[in-house]
Protein backbone atom coordinates (compact mmCIF):
# COMPACT_ATOMS: atom_id res chain seq x y z
CA UNK A 1 0.00 0.00 0.00
CA UNK A 2 1.64 3.24 -1.11
CA UNK A 3 0.64 5.27 1.90
CA UNK A 4 3.81 7.02 3.06
CA UNK A 5 5.16 5.48 6.25
CA UNK A 6 7.82 8.18 6.43
CA UNK A 7 5.34 11.05 6.24
CA UNK A 8 3.05 9.31 8.71
CA UNK A 9 5.98 8.97 11.13
CA UNK A 10 6.83 12.66 10.82
CA UNK A 11 3.20 13.63 11.46
CA UNK A 12 2.95 11.30 14.45
CA UNK A 13 6.22 12.58 15.90
CA UNK A 14 4.95 16.16 15.58
CA UNK A 15 1.73 15.30 17.41
CA UNK A 16 3.76 13.70 20.20
CA UNK A 17 6.25 16.55 20.38
CA UNK A 18 3.37 18.99 20.80
CA UNK A 19 1.80 17.13 23.67
CA UNK A 20 -1.09 15.31 22.01
CA UNK A 21 -2.22 12.56 24.39
CA UNK A 22 -5.50 11.40 22.86
CA UNK A 23 -6.29 10.62 19.24
CA UNK A 24 -9.73 9.77 17.94
CA UNK A 25 -9.94 8.13 14.56
CA UNK A 26 -12.02 6.46 11.96
CA UNK A 27 -10.04 4.28 9.57
CA UNK A 28 -9.29 5.67 6.13
CA UNK A 29 -6.64 4.44 3.74
CA UNK A 30 -4.28 7.39 4.12
CA UNK A 31 -4.50 7.20 7.91
CA UNK A 32 -3.68 3.53 8.44
CA UNK A 33 -0.09 4.08 9.55
CA UNK A 34 -0.97 6.98 11.83
CA UNK A 35 -3.68 4.93 13.52
CA UNK A 36 -1.30 1.98 13.90
CA UNK A 37 1.34 4.25 15.45
CA UNK A 38 -1.21 5.53 17.96
CA UNK A 39 -2.27 1.97 18.72
CA UNK A 40 1.30 0.82 19.34
CA UNK A 41 2.06 3.79 21.61
CA UNK A 42 1.27 2.94 25.23
CA UNK A 43 1.34 6.63 26.14
CA UNK A 44 -1.37 7.52 23.59
CA UNK A 45 -5.09 7.09 24.20
CA UNK A 46 -6.55 5.93 20.87
CA UNK A 47 -10.32 5.98 20.52
CA UNK A 48 -11.71 4.25 17.46
CA UNK A 49 -15.04 5.80 16.63
CA UNK A 50 -18.22 4.63 14.98
CA UNK A 51 -18.75 8.09 13.46
CA UNK A 52 -16.51 11.13 13.37
CA UNK A 53 -18.86 13.47 15.22
CA UNK A 54 -18.21 11.47 18.38
CA UNK A 55 -14.62 12.63 18.13
CA UNK A 56 -15.68 16.21 18.81
CA UNK A 57 -17.21 15.07 22.10
CA UNK A 58 -14.10 13.03 22.91
CA UNK A 59 -11.89 16.05 22.28
CA UNK A 60 -14.12 18.26 24.43
CA UNK A 61 -13.88 15.72 27.25
CA UNK A 62 -10.12 15.47 26.81
CA UNK A 63 -9.78 19.25 26.98
CA UNK A 64 -11.82 19.35 30.18
CA UNK A 65 -9.54 16.62 31.51
CA UNK A 66 -6.44 18.65 30.65
CA UNK A 67 -5.29 16.45 27.75
CA UNK A 68 -4.49 17.70 24.25
CA UNK A 69 -6.16 15.72 21.50
CA UNK A 70 -6.35 15.32 17.75
CA UNK A 71 -9.05 14.01 15.43
CA UNK A 72 -7.92 11.86 12.51
CA UNK A 73 -10.48 11.62 9.75
CA UNK A 74 -11.18 11.80 6.06
CA UNK A 75 -12.84 14.89 4.65
CA UNK A 76 -16.13 13.01 4.44
CA UNK A 77 -15.75 12.39 8.14
CA UNK A 78 -15.27 16.11 8.65
CA UNK A 79 -18.49 16.71 6.74
CA UNK A 80 -20.21 14.14 8.98
CA UNK A 81 -18.96 15.89 12.12
CA UNK A 82 -20.09 19.42 11.36
CA UNK A 83 -22.97 19.73 13.81
CA UNK A 84 -20.72 18.65 16.65
CA UNK A 85 -18.02 21.07 15.53
CA UNK A 86 -20.46 23.99 15.41
CA UNK A 87 -22.77 23.27 18.34
CA UNK A 88 -20.11 21.64 20.51
CA UNK A 89 -16.60 22.91 19.84
CA UNK A 90 -17.46 26.35 18.49
CA UNK A 91 -20.39 27.07 20.80
CA UNK A 92 -18.27 26.13 23.83
CA UNK A 93 -14.99 27.65 22.63
CA UNK A 94 -13.09 24.39 22.54
CA UNK A 95 -9.64 23.87 21.05
CA UNK A 96 -9.94 21.18 18.40
CA UNK A 97 -7.14 19.92 16.17
CA UNK A 98 -8.50 18.20 13.08
CA UNK A 99 -6.16 16.29 10.79
CA UNK A 100 -8.21 15.66 7.67
CA UNK A 101 -7.05 13.46 4.84
CA UNK A 102 -7.84 15.56 1.80
CA UNK A 103 -9.25 13.03 -0.60
CA UNK A 104 -10.83 13.93 -3.89
CA UNK A 105 -8.26 16.46 -5.06
CA UNK A 106 -6.06 16.37 -8.20
CA UNK A 107 -4.81 12.83 -8.72
CA UNK A 108 -7.80 11.14 -7.08
CA UNK A 109 -8.72 7.91 -8.82
CA UNK A 110 -11.65 6.84 -6.61
CA UNK A 111 -14.81 8.34 -8.11
CA UNK A 112 -16.61 8.25 -4.75
CA UNK A 113 -14.12 10.63 -3.13
CA UNK A 114 -14.40 13.42 -5.65
CA UNK A 115 -17.40 15.38 -4.38
CA UNK A 116 -16.05 15.72 -0.84
CA UNK A 117 -12.67 16.89 -2.07
CA UNK A 118 -14.26 19.72 -4.00
CA UNK A 119 -16.20 21.17 -1.08
CA UNK A 120 -13.88 20.65 1.90
CA UNK A 121 -12.02 23.95 1.80
CA UNK A 122 -15.21 25.89 1.04
CA UNK A 123 -16.90 24.36 4.07
CA UNK A 124 -13.90 25.09 6.31
CA UNK A 125 -13.99 28.73 5.18
CA UNK A 126 -17.76 28.93 5.66
CA UNK A 127 -17.28 27.71 9.23
CA UNK A 128 -14.45 30.23 9.82
CA UNK A 129 -12.10 27.39 10.70
CA UNK A 130 -8.47 28.37 10.08
CA UNK A 131 -6.66 25.71 8.07
CA UNK A 132 -3.45 24.99 6.23
CA UNK A 133 -2.45 22.31 3.76
CA UNK A 134 0.24 19.79 4.60
CA UNK A 135 1.63 19.06 1.15
CA UNK A 136 5.22 18.12 1.92
CA UNK A 137 7.22 16.75 4.82
CA UNK A 138 8.84 20.09 5.52
CA UNK A 139 5.39 21.55 6.23
CA UNK A 140 4.54 19.10 8.94
CA UNK A 141 6.28 19.94 12.19
CA UNK A 142 5.95 23.72 12.21
CA UNK A 143 2.40 23.76 10.84
CA UNK A 144 1.21 21.25 13.42
CA UNK A 145 2.97 23.25 16.14
CA UNK A 146 1.41 26.51 14.96
CA UNK A 147 -2.03 24.98 14.48
CA UNK A 148 -2.02 23.69 18.06
CA UNK A 149 -0.76 27.04 19.36
CA UNK A 150 -3.61 28.92 17.65
CA UNK A 151 -6.23 26.39 18.66
CA UNK A 152 -5.13 26.55 22.31
CA UNK A 153 -4.96 30.33 22.43
CA UNK A 154 -8.12 31.07 20.42
CA UNK A 155 -10.02 28.13 21.96
CA UNK A 156 -11.37 27.27 18.53
CA UNK A 157 -11.15 24.44 16.00
CA UNK A 158 -8.32 24.43 13.48
CA UNK A 159 -7.72 22.05 10.58
CA UNK A 160 -4.76 20.66 8.71
CA UNK A 161 -5.45 19.01 5.37
CA UNK A 162 -3.25 15.99 4.73
CA UNK A 163 -2.66 16.18 1.00
CA UNK A 164 -1.90 13.54 -1.62
CA UNK A 165 1.69 14.65 -2.21
CA UNK A 166 2.44 14.12 1.49
CA UNK A 167 0.46 10.95 2.15
CA UNK A 168 0.57 8.93 -1.04
CA UNK A 169 3.57 7.50 -2.88
CA UNK A 170 2.45 6.83 -6.46
Amino acid sequence: MPVSVESSSIIYAALKANGVGLVSALPETWLVHLIRMAEEDDAMILVRLAKEEEGVGLSMGAHFAGVRSAMLMQNHGFLAAINGIVSGAQLYRMPLLMLISHRGEFGERDPWQTEGGGVTEHVLRALHIPYLLLESQDHVEHRIRKAIALSQSALRPVALLLCRDLMWED
Partner: protein, 194 residues
Protein backbone atom coordinates in the same frame (compact mmCIF):
# COMPACT_ATOMS: atom_id res chain seq x y z
CA UNK B 1 -42.14 8.93 37.79
CA UNK B 2 -41.15 12.54 37.27
CA UNK B 3 -37.58 13.00 36.09
CA UNK B 4 -37.16 15.66 38.77
CA UNK B 5 -37.90 13.06 41.47
CA UNK B 6 -35.42 10.68 39.86
CA UNK B 7 -32.78 13.43 39.89
CA UNK B 8 -33.54 14.25 43.53
CA UNK B 9 -32.99 10.63 44.49
CA UNK B 10 -29.49 10.53 43.01
CA UNK B 11 -28.49 14.15 43.64
CA UNK B 12 -26.28 13.37 46.67
CA UNK B 13 -24.27 10.96 44.48
CA UNK B 14 -24.12 13.43 41.60
CA UNK B 15 -22.66 16.06 43.93
CA UNK B 16 -19.71 13.71 44.50
CA UNK B 17 -19.21 13.00 40.80
CA UNK B 18 -18.24 14.72 37.59
CA UNK B 19 -21.53 15.07 35.70
CA UNK B 20 -22.17 15.69 32.00
CA UNK B 21 -25.79 16.25 30.96
CA UNK B 22 -27.73 16.76 27.78
CA UNK B 23 -29.64 19.96 27.01
CA UNK B 24 -33.22 20.85 27.80
CA UNK B 25 -35.24 19.59 30.73
CA UNK B 26 -32.45 17.46 32.25
CA UNK B 27 -30.10 20.46 32.43
CA UNK B 28 -32.79 22.82 33.73
CA UNK B 29 -34.02 20.39 36.37
CA UNK B 30 -30.58 19.49 37.65
CA UNK B 31 -29.75 23.19 37.95
CA UNK B 32 -33.02 23.73 39.84
CA UNK B 33 -31.78 21.23 42.44
CA UNK B 34 -28.50 23.10 42.76
CA UNK B 35 -25.70 23.72 40.31
CA UNK B 36 -22.24 22.45 41.24
CA UNK B 37 -18.91 23.29 39.56
CA UNK B 38 -18.54 19.63 38.60
CA UNK B 39 -21.70 19.70 36.47
CA UNK B 40 -21.39 20.41 32.73
CA UNK B 41 -24.53 20.88 30.68
CA UNK B 42 -23.99 20.23 26.97
CA UNK B 43 -26.65 22.60 25.73
CA UNK B 44 -26.48 21.46 22.11
CA UNK B 45 -24.42 18.98 20.07
CA UNK B 46 -27.17 16.44 20.64
CA UNK B 47 -25.89 12.94 21.16
CA UNK B 48 -22.40 13.89 22.26
CA UNK B 49 -22.85 14.02 26.05
CA UNK B 50 -21.78 10.37 26.31
CA UNK B 51 -18.78 11.10 24.07
CA UNK B 52 -17.72 14.04 26.26
CA UNK B 53 -18.10 11.81 29.32
CA UNK B 54 -16.02 9.09 27.66
CA UNK B 55 -13.25 11.59 26.90
CA UNK B 56 -13.11 12.70 30.53
CA UNK B 57 -13.32 9.15 31.85
CA UNK B 58 -10.49 7.84 29.65
CA UNK B 59 -8.19 10.78 30.36
CA UNK B 60 -8.90 10.92 34.10
CA UNK B 61 -9.50 7.38 35.41
CA UNK B 62 -9.37 8.64 39.00
CA UNK B 63 -12.58 10.65 38.51
CA UNK B 64 -16.08 9.18 38.68
CA UNK B 65 -18.08 10.38 35.69
CA UNK B 66 -21.87 10.26 35.44
CA UNK B 67 -23.49 11.04 32.08
CA UNK B 68 -27.15 12.08 32.15
CA UNK B 69 -28.41 11.25 28.68
CA UNK B 70 -31.88 11.14 27.13
CA UNK B 71 -33.69 8.95 24.64
CA UNK B 72 -33.74 11.57 21.87
CA UNK B 73 -30.07 12.39 22.34
CA UNK B 74 -28.94 8.78 22.57
CA UNK B 75 -30.90 7.86 19.45
CA UNK B 76 -28.84 10.49 17.60
CA UNK B 77 -25.59 8.77 18.58
CA UNK B 78 -26.32 5.06 18.92
CA UNK B 79 -22.89 4.37 17.47
CA UNK B 80 -21.47 6.10 20.52
CA UNK B 81 -22.82 3.24 22.63
CA UNK B 82 -20.58 0.85 20.72
CA UNK B 83 -17.62 3.17 21.36
CA UNK B 84 -18.46 3.34 25.07
CA UNK B 85 -18.71 -0.44 25.16
CA UNK B 86 -15.45 -0.85 23.26
CA UNK B 87 -13.46 1.11 25.83
CA UNK B 88 -15.77 0.27 28.78
CA UNK B 89 -14.39 2.83 31.22
CA UNK B 90 -14.85 1.56 34.76
CA UNK B 91 -15.37 5.06 36.08
CA UNK B 92 -18.38 5.98 33.96
CA UNK B 93 -22.07 5.48 34.68
CA UNK B 94 -24.41 6.25 31.81
CA UNK B 95 -27.94 7.18 32.89
CA UNK B 96 -30.55 7.59 30.17
CA UNK B 97 -33.80 9.36 31.02
CA UNK B 98 -36.34 7.92 28.61
CA UNK B 99 -39.51 10.02 28.35
CA UNK B 100 -40.23 8.60 24.88
CA UNK B 101 -40.28 12.15 23.62
CA UNK B 102 -38.29 14.98 22.05
CA UNK B 103 -39.67 17.22 24.77
CA UNK B 104 -37.84 20.48 24.24
CA UNK B 105 -38.94 20.84 20.62
CA UNK B 106 -42.61 20.17 21.30
CA UNK B 107 -42.91 16.65 22.63
CA UNK B 108 -42.65 14.61 19.46
CA UNK B 109 -42.58 10.89 20.24
CA UNK B 110 -39.27 9.08 19.75
CA UNK B 111 -38.81 5.49 18.65
CA UNK B 112 -38.76 4.33 22.27
CA UNK B 113 -42.49 5.16 22.29
CA UNK B 114 -43.01 2.47 19.68
CA UNK B 115 -40.87 -0.17 21.34
CA UNK B 116 -37.18 0.53 20.70
CA UNK B 117 -35.40 -0.71 23.81
CA UNK B 118 -32.38 1.42 24.74
CA UNK B 119 -31.21 -0.88 27.55
CA UNK B 120 -31.38 -3.76 25.09
CA UNK B 121 -29.44 -1.79 22.48
CA UNK B 122 -26.80 -0.90 25.09
CA UNK B 123 -26.49 -4.55 26.16
CA UNK B 124 -26.26 -5.72 22.55
CA UNK B 125 -23.60 -3.05 21.93
CA UNK B 126 -21.47 -4.69 24.59
CA UNK B 127 -22.03 -2.43 27.60
CA UNK B 128 -21.18 -4.88 30.40
CA UNK B 129 -23.98 -3.90 32.77
CA UNK B 130 -27.35 -2.56 31.72
CA UNK B 131 -30.58 -2.16 33.59
CA UNK B 132 -33.97 -0.48 33.14
CA UNK B 133 -35.76 1.08 36.11
CA UNK B 134 -39.07 2.83 36.66
CA UNK B 135 -38.82 4.15 40.23
CA UNK B 136 -36.57 6.62 41.99
CA UNK B 137 -35.60 4.01 44.59
CA UNK B 138 -34.59 1.53 41.90
CA UNK B 139 -32.56 4.21 40.10
CA UNK B 140 -30.76 5.08 43.30
CA UNK B 141 -30.01 1.42 44.00
CA UNK B 142 -28.87 0.83 40.41
CA UNK B 143 -26.48 3.80 40.62
CA UNK B 144 -25.02 2.52 43.90
CA UNK B 145 -24.55 -0.93 42.36
CA UNK B 146 -22.85 0.55 39.30
CA UNK B 147 -20.47 2.63 41.40
CA UNK B 148 -19.61 -0.32 43.64
CA UNK B 149 -19.13 -2.68 40.69
CA UNK B 150 -16.73 -0.29 38.95
CA UNK B 151 -17.94 -1.46 35.56
CA UNK B 152 -19.41 0.62 32.76
CA UNK B 153 -23.17 0.61 33.32
CA UNK B 154 -26.07 1.99 31.32
CA UNK B 155 -29.20 2.62 33.39
CA UNK B 156 -32.34 3.44 31.41
CA UNK B 157 -34.88 5.32 33.52
CA UNK B 158 -38.45 5.50 32.26
CA UNK B 159 -39.86 8.92 33.19
CA UNK B 160 -43.05 10.88 32.54
CA UNK B 161 -43.38 12.75 29.29
CA UNK B 162 -45.21 15.55 31.09
CA UNK B 163 -42.93 18.39 32.16
CA UNK B 164 -43.31 21.36 34.50
CA UNK B 165 -40.50 23.87 34.01
CA UNK B 166 -38.71 24.64 37.26
CA UNK B 167 -38.86 28.25 38.48
CA UNK B 168 -36.51 30.48 36.54
CA UNK B 169 -36.05 28.11 33.61
CA UNK B 170 -38.71 29.21 31.12
CA UNK B 171 -37.97 27.75 27.71
CA UNK B 172 -35.19 25.67 29.31
CA UNK B 173 -32.93 28.74 29.54
CA UNK B 174 -31.39 29.24 32.98
CA UNK B 175 -29.28 32.09 34.26
CA UNK B 176 -26.11 30.01 33.97
CA UNK B 177 -24.31 31.12 30.81
CA UNK B 178 -22.98 28.32 28.62
CA UNK B 179 -19.43 29.66 28.62
CA UNK B 180 -19.50 30.43 32.34
CA UNK B 181 -20.39 26.78 32.91
CA UNK B 182 -17.73 25.58 30.45
CA UNK B 183 -14.86 27.54 32.03
CA UNK B 184 -15.94 26.85 35.60
CA UNK B 185 -16.13 23.12 34.83
CA UNK B 186 -12.69 23.09 33.19
CA UNK B 187 -11.21 24.92 36.15
CA UNK B 188 -12.90 22.54 38.57
CA UNK B 189 -11.44 19.49 36.82
CA UNK B 190 -8.01 21.10 36.71
CA UNK B 191 -7.89 21.24 40.48
CA UNK B 192 -9.74 18.02 41.11
CA UNK B 193 -8.34 14.77 42.34
CA UNK B 194 -10.66 12.16 43.73
Amino acid sequence: MRRLDALKAIYPRLEQSVVVTIMGAVAAELQSLGHRPGFFYLQHAMGLASSVGLGIALCRPELRVVVLDGDGSLLMNLGGLTTLARYRPRNLVHIVFDNESLLSVGGFPTATSTGSDLAGIAAASGVPHTTAVTTAADLSAALETAIAARELTTIVVKVDTHYEPPAGAAGFVTDLNLLENRFEFARFLKGREL
